[in-house]
Amino acid sequence: MTRKVTLTVNGTVRSASLPDRKTLADLLRQDLGLTGTHLGCETGLCGACTILLDGRAVRSCLMLAVQAEGHSIITVEGLAPSATELHPLQQAFCDEHALQCGFCTPGLLTTLVEFLHDVPDPSAAEIREAISGNLCRCTGYDTIVKATLSAAARMRAP
């Protein structure tokens, strides 16, 4: 079965015709060319494919594309305000060396965008809990926690 799906991605209305069984991750990556969302396990366990669906962090490998009909999605490509400016989390990740290979980074960023929206002044332990569903094999996580604390402080500043 093929059907048409229309959804808003990074502020733009997009539509695609696709089979029912196609995952949201594959829609984003293959049909919309947004390859910043990465697939690390395809079973919802590594967190690399996390995107924001109506502001909530969601595993795009576990959702069918057709389920996203009418929803609004933000991917890593939609986080930075402009081509010259980064989201404070992105800037802090670079400043604190919170990415090495960068494969898990998009899922961490989207997870943390939701988290900092809900918890603008988190403790390190709360950040660790928030990202405990995102696997990173490179960093050992400390610099990610540091970057999140620093971004949170920047985002709270008036």
Binding site: T43, L109, G133, L135, G140, T143
Partner: protein, 781 residues
């Protein structure tokens, strides 16, 4: 500490070249590559650990709409120069030749072994079709355990093999048995050491793109060794080097297994040539568990003789190593393990026999650390046992045995796999241990133990030393060109997989050529950009590629200044490169841009080049450094144990280390932290489980546990810098160091926490269930 006090960039943290694209999700990993007409591959894999294949029926699969091809080895063989992957590194120790086939045809020897390849319009259809390939099997007896594999009467992992003994090697020196005969003390350990897979967050994958116009093939491959992959593809497809280009796009972590050449590399590349369409294969995580090489089990039986003061007199023993079903690399994992074992210490006599056993499991090849964590675990367990027996403090017995700094460089009788002498080139191991002990407040520990008891927890502290062989030669290629645009292009055979290789090379080159990092483009891992290369392994890329880059940059700097001197009629010694210009020192308005200088020697047809300079602004280097440089360090771990649940928490970890001069302190810490997390996973969580039929039991990341952010302890990293005399920058490798001593330090800490119960750790990983069993057994004694 900055080991390069006079440098502009070296020794300092600089922004990473890799970050701007990766942070926006604009990297290009292999699965991000899309092309018109792209087809997708899926592999039919064995569900049995050992079976004879009696028939393969591909008809139903081939008939599925959207399927372009379903091929077995019979279909591919006419197009292959060899149907096997002949990749084993040389060693006189082999007793069995185990070259794995491109696809299994008559016998499967591990779950996950590929039998057929399906090419289809998309991956969904390819996987549907793979499920329709009907393979009939006669199940054969299985070898699931490496120690049992070598028992008389064991079934064999390959039905026609005379035994399971793949390799038999002894590493040793000195009068071992004499020492044991007269030694006043000896301790013995039987250890079972497990390590799992690499589990880079990006699995393997490749995209093979044929160019019919020029009869070429471009293979985008998530590999650590593009040049080796090209050579093997040329060999097996019968093509020459200009016909195959292997390029590594952004690689989402390597950690060892991506240096291996795989059956899928051949199947996908050949499919692209046969169909004249681009073909992509992306491994899924389940395949990563059953088809990507891993490290696994080693059974160590070791003893150590000491004098009454705990000084080591001799070590001897045997390691049985789970080699897996095929030789996908060599015997380097157990050889690396045994070679690493004594390195930090003065060991007068040493003899270890390695028996590599074939099993019906995924082939074993290096994972970050490459056997060295196992060797260090064995050594440190022996030292803890001796400390216990002789009632000497664990730090003190190590102090008495560590190679003293006055002995550096310290030549050991051990040889590398290439026959090169193992000479510890620099370092102060006792001072490094002391730095870690001080950082961990070793002497103040008893108060923390007492405090933990008030919370009903048993707290212990432990330590482990390591010496890591880094910077394996013989060379790495680096070329630098300044083009008429003024831009500096660097190309290397080194392959990036997340360790900031581009940044590292840009920094070294920029140091000599103007220090403007934005003016440098680094190309890693592309056989079209670098004529030769070795690639990423053995914590080698900063040492080998960095050294070549440094030498080439110095030569090119001299050339730039010579030419500028002629153009400006100024002595080169009075010139400096600042940003994108050459300036007269102290007279910044007297300057020529790099672009002008490059243009002046680019040449115009029929016109004489200026001065004596000759054409072009380029230098390339393949600096040969055969001897490895040895990094060292000490980990001190503190654990808290709940004896009711067996829960083990590592609560503090201090890592004192010495990797020579640090090019960028932040990157060094980043490499170490990743390794430390990996080491903690190996110590407590990561277990690649198989049942008695060699069926894998952990094939998702819910069953095989990787470290998450909540399990990380407080980690303090302390640095010493003993420059290596083997390279001009004085650097040593650091990519694997973090992982090496962690299991040993955690085991030491658990012993210490549970000393009152007489529990000692003899295996890794150690799970709560294992610990409760040990506690029960101890209580019964």
């Amino acid at each position: 500490m900055n080991g390069f006090p006079d440098a502009r960039l070296l020794g300092r943290d600089i922004p990473r070249q890799e970050d701007p694209k990766l942070i926006r999700g604009a990297g290009r990993f292999v699965d991000d590559i899309d092309l018109p007409g792209l087809l997708h591959a899926a592999f039919v894999r064995s569900p049995h650990a050992h079976a004879a294949i009696t028939s393969i029926d591909t008809a139903d699969a081939a008939a599925l709409p959207g399927v372009h091809a379903v091929w077995t080895l019979d279909d591919l063989a006419p197009h292959l120069a060899d149907t096997r992957l002949v990749v084993a590194m040389p060693s006189p120790s082999y007793r069995l030749e185990l070259h794995r086939p491109v696809l299994a045809r008559t016998e499967v020897v591990h779950v996950g072994e590929p039998i057929a390849v399906v090419i289809a319009e998309n991956r969904y259809i390819a996987e549907d079709a793979a499920a329709l390939v009907a393979v009939e099997y006669d199940v054969l007896d299985v070898v699931a355990d490496c120690a049992a594999a070598l028992q008389p009467g064991s079934p064999t992992a390959h039905r026609d093999a005379p035994s399971n003994l793949v390799a038999d090697m002894t590493i040793g020196y000195g009068a071992v048995d004499d020492a044991f005969a007269t030694a006043p003390h000896r301790v013995q350990e039987r250890l079972w050491i497990h390590r799992g897979g690499s589990h880079s967050m990006e699995c393997r994958g490749l995209v093979a793109v044929p160019d019919p116009l020029e009869d070429r093939l471009t293979v985008w491959n998530s590999t650590q060794m593009p040049h080796a992959a090209r050579r093997l593809l040329c060999d097996i497809l019968g093509l020459h080097e200009r016909q195959i280009r292997v390029v590594t796009p952004d690689v989402g972590g390597g950690f060892g297994p991506k240096l291996i050449f795989y059956p899928e590399d051949v199947g996908v590349s050949l499919a692209a040539r046969l169909l004249q369409r681009p073909v992509k294969w992306i491994e899924d995580r389940r395949e990563h568990f059953v088809a990507t090489t891993q490290e696994r089990d080693q059974a160590w039986d070791v003893e150590m003789a000491t004098d009454a003061e705990g000084r080591i007199l001799a070590i001897r023993g045997t390691v049985i190593h789970d080699h897996g079903a095929w030789t996908a690399r060599g015997v380097n994992v157990p050889q690396g393990a045994v070679s690493a074992m004594p390195l930090a210490y003065v060991v007068p006599a040493f003899r270890m026999q390695i028996l590599a056993a074939s099993t019906n499991k995924v082939p074993v090849t290096p994972v970050r650390g490459a056997g060295q964590p196992q060797g260090v675990f064995a050594m440190e367990r022996l030292l803890d046992a001796a400390a216990r027996t002789l009632n000497i403090d664990r730090a003190e017995i190590r102090r008495r045995n560590l190679v003293p700094s006055a002995a550096m460089p310290y030549e050991t009788p051990i040889r590398t796999r290439g026959g090169i002498a193992v000479t510890l080139d620099s370092g102060d191991y006792p001072a490094c241990q002391q730095m870690a002990l001080d950082g961990a407040d070793w002497d103040g520990f008893p108060a923390r133990r007492t405090e933990a008891r008030t919370r009903n927890l048993y707290r212990g502290i432990g330590l482990a030393n390591y010496v890591e062989a880094t910077g394996r030669g013989p060379y790495e290629h680096v070329s630098i060109r300044i083009e008429p645009s003024g831009r500096i292009f660097v190309a290397t055979g080194a392959a990036a997989m997340g360790q900031s290789t581009e940044t590292m090379l840009a920094q070294i080159v920029a140091e000599q050529l103007g220090a403007d990092l934005s003016n440098i483009t680094v190309t890693t891992g592309d056989t079209a950009a670098a004529p030769a290369g070795i690639g990423g392994s053995n914590s080698r890329q900063a040492v080998m590629a960095g050294s070549s880059a440094h030498a080439a940059a110095l030569r090119l700097r001299e050339r730039v200044l010579d030419i500028a001197g002629e153009l400006m009629e100024v002595a080169p010694a009075d010139l400096d490169i600042v940003g994108r210009e050459v300036q007269v020192k102290g007279v910044a308005q007297m300057r020529r841009s790099l672009a002008e200088i490059a243009r002046s020697v680019a040449g115009t047809a029929g016109f004489v080049l200026p001065g004596q300079a000759g054409p072009g602004l380029a230098a390339s280097e393949e600096l040969v450094i055969d001897a490895m440089t040895y990094a060292n360090g000490t980990a001190v771990a503190e654990v808290e144990i709940d004896i009711e649940t067996g829960a083990i928490s590592v609560v503090n970890l201090v890592f004192g280390h010495d990797c020579g001069r640090a090019l960028q302190p932040r990157l060094v810490e980043g490499q170490l932290m990743g390794g430390i997390a990996h080491g903690l996973g190996n110590a407590l969580f990561e277990f690649m489980a198989y049942d008695e039929n060699a069926q894998p039991l952990t094939t998702t990341l819910a069953e095989y546990l990787l470290m998450t952010a909540t399990e990380m302890p407080r980690v303090t990293i302390l640095h010493m810098e003993s420059p290596s005399p083997l390279n001009a920058l004085g650097i040593k490798g650091v990519g694997e160091a973090g992982v090496i001593p962690i299991g040993a330090a955690v085991a030491s800490a658990i012993d210490d926490a549970l000393a009152g119960f007489g529990v000692t750790i003899d295996r890794l990983p150690i799970s709560p269930v294992d610990l409760l069993k040990l506690l029960d057994a101890a209580r019964e004694r």
